[in-house]
Amino acid sequence: MKLPGLLRGAFAAALLLALASALPAAARAAELEVKIDNFTFAPQRITVKAGTTVTWTNEDDIPHTVTSTSAGAFRSKALDTDDKFSFTFTTPGTFEYFCSLHPHMTGSVVVEAATGAATP
C-alpha cells in the first residue's frame, strides 16, 4: 500500500501548488515571526513581500515595545512576557523600529513589492 499512498501525497501536493499559484499574491497570507529575546529583535532585519504579517513575541522577563521610528506607522502597547504584536506591511519600503523602553534595541523590516500580483 506504499505506492498508492505516495501517489496520493504527490497528487495532494500538486493540487495545493496549483491552487496556490492560482491565487493573487496578496491573498497568500504570508507570515513571519520575530522573537524578542535577551533585549534583541531576532532576526534584527527581515525582508518580506508586501502583504506579509509580521508577529513579534516577547520572550524576555521584561516588557518591550515594537515602535516605528516614523511616527504613527505602527506602535505596539507594552508587551509583557509572551505577549504578541502583529502588523501587516502593505507598502513597500524600509521600516525601522525600536523598543521605546530600551531604545538601544532596534530592528528593521524591508518590504518589497509583491511580485506576480495581477494589476487590477
Binding site: N38, F39, D60, D61, P63, K77, F98, L101, P103, T106
Partner: protein, 314 residues
C-alpha cells in the same frame, strides 16, 4: 574654605579625573564629599557616628507586579525594605523613589506600591522609570498620581535644610538607538531653576536612568546628561542619585558624586557580565544581599553628603 569660594574651573580641571570607584556588590560603602573632594570614610560603624545632620532615604526599582523567577514576591522584599527604613535609628527627613515603582504601570501595581511605601510614614518624592509610563496614555497614570505639581513629564525641584533637590525625568521620548533622554524643554527648565542659586548651595539631582554613561551597549546612560552636568558645573557639591541598573555603582568626577541604588525587587548583571541586562536569578538565600536601600546624610555646615548602601540582609 569651601569650593564655593574657588574659581573651580582651573582648580577643578586639574583634579578632574575619575578618583573612585565602581562597586558592584559592596555592602556598607560610605562616601563623604567635602568641598568636592571625595573621601572614603570606611564602613557603616563610622557612618553611624557621623549622623548628626539631615538624613534622607533613597529607594528604587520596586517593580511591583514583577513575578518572574528572579523574585516571584517583590511585595515581600519591598515590605522588608520599608521595615528597614522604619527601623533606622535616625529618622529620615523624607524619602526619594528613583523610579520603576511598578512593573507594568497598572493601577493595582501603583496601589500596592503606595500601600506599602506609605507605611514608612515619610514624605516621598518620586521620579518615573520607563516601567511607570507604559499605560495606554503613556505616563498619564503616573502624572495623575505623582506629577500634579510637576512640570512636563514630571520634573520638579524643592529645598530642604539648605539643600536643593532636583527630580529629573529621562525615560520619555527616547530615540531609536539612543540612551535616556532629558530633552530641550527640561534642560531649559533646569537652567532656569538653577539661576540665581549660590554656587555654595549643595545640589542633589535624582533621576531614574544614570545621568552618566555607565554602559552604552545596554543603554545605561543619558544621551544629553552631559548638558545637565554642564549646568551644574559651577556648584561646589553635586550629588547625582539614580536607579535603573539594580546595583550599586559610584563614581566621583570633579565636584560631582554619582551613585546608583539597589533595587528592592531583583538584581541585574554587572555591565557585560551577561548576554543582556535582564533580571538576574541568584540563589534564594543570596537574593536579599543584592537588594536594598540607600541612606544619605547631609551635615549642615560641612557640605558633606554621606551615602550608605544597606542591603536587605547581610
Amino acid at each position: 574654605m569651601t569650593m564655593s569660594s574657588h574659581d573651580d574651573d582651573r582648580d577643578g580641571v586639574s583634579r578632574r579625573k575619575v578618583l573612585e570607584c565602581m562597586t558592584w556588590a559592596g555592602t556598607g560603602v560610605l562616601w563623604t564629599v567635602a568641598g568636592g573632594v571625595p573621601t572614603s570614610l570606611g564602613i557603616m560603624a563610622e557612618a553611624a557616628a557621623q549622623t548628626s545632620g539631615m538624613t534622607f532615604l533613597q529607594i528604587s526599582d520596586s517593580h511591583v507586579g514583577f513575578d518572574k523567577p528572579a523574585n516571584p514576591n517583590v511585595l515581600s522584599t519591598l515590605e522588608e525594605a520599608i521595615a528597614k527604613v522604619k527601623a533606622l535609628k535616625t529618622r529620615p527627613a523624607f524619602m526619594l523613589h528613583t523610579g520603576d515603582i511598578t512593573h507594568l504601570s497598572k493601577d493595582k501595581e501603583f496601589d500596592d506600591a503606595q500601600r506599602i511605601i506609605s507605611q514608612a510614614g515619610l514624605d516621598t518624592h518620586y521620579v518615573p522609570g520607563e516601567h511607570d509610563i507604559i499605560d495606554e496614555q503613556q505616563g498619564q497614570k503616573y502624572k495623575d498620581r505623582y506629577g500634579k505639581n510637576a512640570k512636563g513629564a514630571g520634573w520638579y525641584s524643592f529645598d530642604q535644610n539648605g539643600v536643593h533637590f532636583i527630580g529629573l525625568v529621562n525615560v520619555v521620548n527616547l530615540k531609536a538607538g539612543g540612551l535616556g533622554n532629558l530633552g530641550a524643554e527640561q534642560l531649559a527648565w533646569l537652567e532656569d531653576d538653577l539661576k540665581g542659586k549660590s554656587a555654595s548651595t549643595p545640589i542633589v539631582v535624582f533621576a531614574h536612568i544614570p545621568l552618566w554613561v555607565v554602559y552604552e551597549t545596554w543603554g545605561w546612560g543619558t544621551e544629553d546628561g552631559g548638558q545637565a552636568l554642564a549646568l551644574l558645573k559651577r556648584f561646589g557639591s553635586v550629588t547625582v542619585l539614580n536607579g535603573h541598573i539594580h546595583q550599586v555603582m559610584q563614581k566621583v568626577e570633579g565636584n560631582v558624586a554619582f551613585h546608583t541604588a539597589r533595587s528592592t525587587a531583583f538584581p541585574q548583571p554587572a555591565p557585560g557580565a551577561a548576554p543582556s541586562p535582564g533580571p538576574m536569578k541568584v540563589p534564594d538565600d543570596k537574593l536579599r544581599s543584592v537588594l536594598g536601600i540607600a541612606d544619605i546624610t547631609y551635615k549642615v555646615g560641612t557640605e558633606r553628603l554621606a551615602i550608605i548602601d544597606q542591603p536587605l540582609q547581610g
